[in-house]
Symmetry: C2
Subunit: 317 residues, 2 copies
């Protein structure tokens, strides 16, 4: 099996690559692609290419990958700031790839597309059902929703075998703090676990939907093995996750790393960030995905433990 990972240089792409090379999926060929060349891996081909380049689909499909993980996108903030770039990258580039796949005779690859819960928009019920309507409130969400519809249509027509998985907010993201509106959700745990201070810009009553990087990698791998013949007209699946308030996250931090870690969090309200994240969903049913065997964490203690096991920087003594 030839596996292709688009967006392989990103956080999730790198974790997926590591899992696959460690034996999570059998392969005879592995191609890693991103706008910057993904780190070289023995036995894998690393490609630097921009998906919006008209020649990209031909390059990517040259050796007929059987399984394609498509994690490449520009993020919500950039898609909102640059309308043309957002549609070009998050919709048109994927469409060009799907059209190129459709044009190859006798070729029906499986394509796992990283979609987003941003396809949904407030007002929300407390727990959002799988068949909640699509009312994105960002261009990023609109682009993901449109791509889901395209993927479902091409799959229905037998032009490829697609699955779109809507990922929860990934927590704890490894690495340095970033300026994404969601960044504090990882920061308030990651920094104190590493002895550093962190800023909480919102009320601790705020509730949201999370999965660890390990769970998100597991979703992608699990989707790759699914039989889609029982799927209905939509190929989009809302992934399971853990609904937690900021207070519950801090309680888990206290249990894991003590009061001194929790004391490193300083509450400095930021109305701009609060206005964005307060409109985000609190919880999803994810009934279909759970029935299909997708699994997320059931406590924030697990999410903290996974960060410590997988991602905490080795202390430099």
């Amino acid at each position: 099996m030839h596996i292709l990972i688009l967006g392989a240089a990103g956080m999730l792409g790198r974790k997926l690559t590591t899992a696959i090379t460690a034996g999570a999926l059998p392969y005879t060929r592995l191609t890693l692609a991103d706008v910057v060349a993904p780190p070289a891996i023995p036995g894998a081909t690393s490609l630097a290419l921009n998906l919006t380049d008209p020649t990209a689909p031909a390059t990517l499909l040259q050796h007929r990958p059987d399984l394609i993980f498509h994690l490449a996108a520009i993020v919500s903030g950039e898609a909102e700031a640059d309308l043309a770039k957002g549609y070009a990258t998050n919709l048109d580039a994927t469409r060009a790839l799907l059209d190129a796949i459709a044009a190859i005779p006798d070729y029906l690859p499986k394509l796992i597309f990283a979609s987003s819960l941003a396809v949904f928009g407030a007002p929300f019920p407390k727990v959002i059902p799988d068949d909640f309507h699509l009312t994105p409130r960002t261009s990023y969400g609109a682009q993901k929703a449109m791509t889901e519809l395209l993927l479902s249509d091409h799959s229905r027509r037998g032009l490829l075998d697609g699955i779109a998985i809507r990922l929860p907010t990934i927590c704890i993201r490894p690495g340095a703090p970033n300026r994404a509106a969601s960044g504090f959700y990882s920061s308030i745990l990651r920094e104190p676990l590493n002895g550093q201070p962190a800023i909480l810009p919102v009320s601790d009553t705020l509730r949201h939907w999370f999965a660890s990087p390990r769970a998100a990698t597991g979703f992608l791998l699990h989707a790759a093995g699914l039989d889609t013949t029982t799927f209905g007209p939509s190929r989009a699946l809302t992934m399971p996750g853990l609904s937690a308030s900021v207070a519950e996250m801090i309680e888990a931090l206290r249990r894991t790393a003590g009061q001194s870690a929790a004391d490193l969090i300083q509450h400095t309200p930021d109305p701009t960030i609060a206005a964005i994240v307060e409109s985000w969903a609190e919880a999803f049913e994810a009934t279909t995905a759970r029935a299909l065997g997708f699994k997320a964490e059931s406590s924030f203690d697990d999410i903290l433990r996974i960060y410590l096991e997988d991602d905490r920087p080795t202390p430099s003594i």
Copy 2:
């Protein structure tokens, strides 16, 4: 006010043009466009152009129409038969128009887009709520759903003021029988009203969702006058209609034109047509649209009367 009608040569476009020139909306300039030049009207400009032509948006927007009715599309069957043509016409051409509007400074036209209930797909509840999820089962439906998302996104960003209206099946369509799967719904009434035989290819227990051409024209005109500032994140509205079974339609025909008219319907089952139309929706709540003042017929007797008033060919004696 400069009004532009795209798809002006079609059945609905011609009725809308007639209503506007009769005074339904005030205008200082009227532009009629379609792939074939719409019939010349005194005081109106008639344009033959293909919306998929890259120069079409510049031509259409040259004189900054304030109100655009966009009724141009290729139909469901053709969009299913020709994937590339369907996406090019039903999605890309509209996107090019929206992008061209967005590129003009200080220009915020109102755009009324004819969408379709094909954005929804079975399985359905008995009566479908406004917030039913989007699971199209045709490429046509996927294209309309994607365009709705794009229209909502551009409207949210203040790039135009869009409304997508999802039209019921139009009945009674004037003119000759056509080969659309839905054609019999008009044919079984229109032909007997004109003394001609008609074929019913399905069971008379089949139920579906209808509005007259006059009601559909009224939806477009009503949308043009709506204040969208109270709209939520979606600019798509499911239009009201009349839910009726084939048996109820035939009963109304009997009341209007007698048993001899009803006797002109011959039941000749066609499993191909039955398979298509049996998956169609039976009824919609249309709560939001009704609250906004959109009105459809409440009995099939009215739908028959409207055909006789508006569309029955003058008998040639």
